[in-house]
Symmetry: C2
């Protein structure tokens, strides 16, 4: 054995390359000001239509006679089942809800490559039936296992070989990250960033952009889809190495998180969709008598640019626009975010870190003042001069219909939120979140969206 | 806000302090050569007896009429239920087994303190009913939530305040780590190392030892218990920082692990203990007709040094002595261990890294040669000159009866195991494992034992 077999465990040049790309306001491909026309062109090139349909018109999907669970005759894709959650704390100590069960692990992959010495990302114009504007910018690859093992009987997933075949690329990030814990039962996806080896064949639905250009597009409403945002959060754009300073050293942050994960006694039980207290099934929707939270509905899809030409499927449609925000405070000159250790019924392990605020205000409007979510009113009443970032983004358009949230970064000062926040909250730096996101199940998908927005838009100030 | 609020995220002096303690062959307290007498003294000071009893003589424990599950009338402690696991691969594609369900998170805590400038660990002589020699060296604190919330109605857990009350200590390590995935359903414990602030009151069942002294004791059979070993593995004794070289850079190691966790389709379903195919319930044991794997049995305990004076409880009793070994190979002069991404039915998430070999040979003796576990025969036939570490250790004596395994580190060369090992295996450095163990669910409990043995005994060479 000779020493050249060994490689440094850590290559510090990677972080510098990401930073250079984030600072590049234009790249070697599409110019940012031409992006809207390009996306409009892709929209014209394909015919899409999505229509609400009654459950009875779903093709291949049906309710199980015994359980009332909704599933596909192939046994693949996903099922809609029931969930009973009890937490023994807070204004909602126990509840029943429909939940999406999709145990297979998908791949969300960004293919990157240097042009003129700057990393570019291959982004895709992709239709998803639940997005209000249907076509958004998605990662290079967005594939469920059913997708790339061809349960759809459709075409191959383009560029998937870079993420599944050794030697086609160099992996820069690869972790299992959770999806929405309120709507998915223990779902996670591989979030991968791979640098291509060799020439990458072009395709008209794909374009190369720098991280700086994507940061610019993240200021627009409903353009960069959720799958793209979560993988972007895994890029070491905002530091994340263990150097630097913070209010809590890394070891204390890990200890706080471990204590939060240990102190909650969350009991989760899968139940039958057909017998969920408080929920009713009609011909067109499964919803609640009080009209809150979300409904399960069905859509029929006609599309040209997807793996198959037409299909139908269930979607979750939330009630109302979400508000998702990190409070941001400069401590000793260093920006810190107020992270919240959130219980969501579908998490693999009790809690993950989320934004300070992650609520649909309508669902809480009926509560007494002391039961209203902490910091929600502070965000809703924030002076526009304090808002450092704001855009409306869609959640996973392949499973959720018109699920949109207003994402914000709101700066506060020491008179508004103390250094020692209430139980369940901690001040952390963006670099610490980037450090944690190398591993799975620390930061929830909404937190990852805001981390991506913060890191990728930093160039604009 | 002023800058002094900030602290460095990482304090490099911690690692040096652990290294100094690991190098200290004697400390300021008990001398290593006096340890055996001290332990014998503690054994004399307390009366212990443990006897096998029929299930009918269990006090407070009974089989549920409908499910056959075994539980305590208080609803606390743990239950023994059934599990159905299917993996779709290997010689065992599907099986049924009893499993321990104990959803609460316990604390395993080491209290440390500097004497004469060297870190010492407060170790406890603690009786556990399943240990063949009953009394072993355990962490300062070893408490289930039932323990320290007094479901036992016994005495307080000594020194617990250092691990639960802010300001009593400085946390040096704190992570949620899995227990035995073959016998526990998704059980994890907080593994904590806390440096005491102020004087620590002495107690006759406790002694202060350096990490070097504990390393010496780890060469003895059945002295350092499993709970102590797992927390010891969380100490940054063997490096673990991102500097240094390895066959796989850290990013590639994470990607390999993520791929391993994603590629297995493990289906786990909790079932009723009363109707497990292949298992039978007698008056004294639940066991298998073929005599393999383990039995569920019951014991009555009389003890003076435990929180309560006497009790009875179920235990799992494995059949045969386990063999648990890492193959070790110097690559470019740097020691690497051959880690195995293992599926265990009770893991929270599909796979964790384990030793190269972790089997009870008797359970595999009936298999055809091609189905025998990889590398097992290589370990069993290892030349004594290649064995870098060997000792018999007990598994969790509070849940398992006479569960012992021969732990080994066996050095191999390039003619025996290639740099590119079979699927499911990877060469990793001890420093990389120490880096991963800051987070939960990467390294299984057997792997943590061997990491602790490797790191803490390195002083002896």
């Amino acid at each position: 054995m000779t020493a050249p077999l060994l490689r440094p465990r850590h290559d510090p040049s990677d972080q510098a390359r990401f930073a250079r790309s984030a600072a590049a306001a234009q790249g070697s491909g599409l110019r940012t000001e031409d992006f809207a026309d390009w996306l409009a062109g892709r929209r014209l090139a394909h015919r899409f239509s999505v229509d609400r349909i009654p459950f009875a018109e779903l093709d291949g999907w049906s309710f199980d006679e015994a359980s009332g669970n909704l599933g596909h005759r192939s046994g693949r894709f996903f099922t809609v089942e029931g969930l009973h959650v009890s937490t023994g704390e807070g204004p909602f100590r126990e509840w029943h809800q429909p939940i999406i069960k999709q145990p297979e692990v998908g791949i969300l992959g960004l293919l990157v490559k240097e042009f003129d010495g700057v990393l570019h990302v291959l982004m895709q114009a992709k239709m998803e039936p639940g997005n209000r504007n249907l076509l958004q910018l998605s990662p290079t690859v967005q594939a469920t296992r059913s997708n790339y093992t061809k349960v759809h009987k459709g075409s191959d997933v383009r560029y998937i070989e870079y993420f599944t075949q050794p030697g086609r690329g160099r992996v820069l990030a690869d972790s299992l990250q959770s999806e929405h814990g309120s709507w998915f039962f223990r779902k996670s996806n591989r979030n991968m960033i791979v640098e291509a080896v060799g020439e990458v064949p072009p395709h008209e639905d794909f374009c190369w952009l720098t991280f700086g250009q994507i940061g610019e597009l993240l200021h627009l409403d409903n353009v960069v889809n959720m799958d793209a945002r979560t993988v972007l959060s895994c890029a070491p754009l905002g530091g994340g190495e263990r150097d630097g300073s913070a209010l809590l050293p890394d070891g204390e942050l890990l200890s706080w998180f471990t204590a939060e994960r240990s102190r909650h006694e969350v009991r989760v039980r899968r139940t039958a969709l057909g017998s969920l207290p408080g929920w009713r099934r009609g011909a067109d929707a499964i919803d609640r008598e009080d009209g809150r939270y979300f409904s399960v509905v069905a859509v029929g899809v006609q599309a040209g640019s997807r793996e198959v030409a037409s299909w139908s499927q269930p979607l979750f449609e939330p009630c109302g626009l979400g508000v998702t925000a990190f409070l941001l405070r400069r401590i000793g000159g260093v920006p810190h975010l107020l992270a919240h250790a959130r219980v969501e019924g579908g998490f693999l392990d009790t809690v993950e870190l989320g934004p300070t605020v992650q609520y649909t205000p309508e669902n809480y409007a009926h509560l007494a003042k002391e039961d209203r979510p902490p910091f929600l009113d502070l965000v809703l009443a924030a002076d526009p001069g304090r808002i450092r970032y704001e855009a409306v983004h869609s959640e996973e358009g392949g499973r959720f219909l018109n699920a949109e949230s207003r994402y914000l970064l709101v700066e506060v000062d020491e008179t508004e939120v103390p250094l020692d926040p209430p139980p369940g909250y901690a001040w952390v730096t963006p670099g610490q979140l980037t450090w944690l996101v190398r591993h799975g199940h620390y930061l929830n998908v909404q937190g990852r969206t805001l981390l991506a927005c913060l890191n990728a838009t930093a160039v604009r100030g």
